[in-house]
Each structure stands twice: as C-alpha cells, then as structure tokens.
Assembly symmetry: C2
Amino acid sequence: MKLRVVVTLKNGVLDPQGKAIQHALGSLGFEGVADVRAGKIFELEVADDTSDEQIDEMCRKLLANTVIENYRVERQ
Amino acid sequence: MKLRVVVTLKNGVLDPQGKAIQHALGSLGFEGVADVRAGKIFELEVADDTSDEQIDEMCRKLLANTVIENYRVERQ
C-alpha cells in the first residue's frame, strides 16, 4: 500500500525557509508571491494490513514533530 | 491563488534520508515498511494572473533541482 505523508508547519510557527524562498523568487523577478511555506513529504510503501493507528503512530513518533508541525496522510 | 509544488527525487537517485527513516521505523517496531522516499512540498500564495509558464520557471529556477528531482504543481 502506498501512502503519502505531508508534514507542514503549524500556522503561527515561523518558517525561515519559506521566507527565504519568497525573497529569492522576488529577486529572480517573480512578482506577486505573497507567501511561501515549506514542508516535507514522505512516500511510504507499507504492508497492506497496516492499520490506520499504526500509520498515525509512525507520524507522531518519527515523521512529524507535532509540537510545531501538522501531518496529513493521503492514501494512493 | 494557492499552489502546491511537490518536489521528489527521480527514480534511481539514492535517497539516504528515506533509507534512514525506513530503518528508524523498523527499529521502532513498525514492520512491513518496504520503502520510504523523502521529498519537499512548497505551498505558495501567488497572484491570480500568474501564468503556468511563470510557475514552471519558478520550479525550474529555484524550487527543484531538475538534474535529480521531479516536480509536480497542484492547483488548489
């Protein structure tokens, strides 16, 4: 079973990488970029009998830092 | 206009971060994780009149290293 886990910073958490990209896009001549937020994506190939609870635990224990990050699991 | 740009390593490019995560999941007791690939995701807020060509150029010039990475633009 293929999964996509998307990890993004929570609203209100500063994102210096996103800000740097936003400014770099401006410097390259791209106008009108109002905001950039950077995140991570993990594509996992797991056993078909993996339960939702196990997937959730993987995210909470390893893939995301739930203090500052949100995660979202997308099944494919 | 909100965009999501998903940047992933091309097939055949070694992904040490993904391998490390895969092994760490195994160490944590999660069985059956056959593969993990790590990638990046950028959420952009751009002007509504931004053309597809401009978005493509942003990806090629800054967001993705097209030698080793693929990118995919998702409109929201």
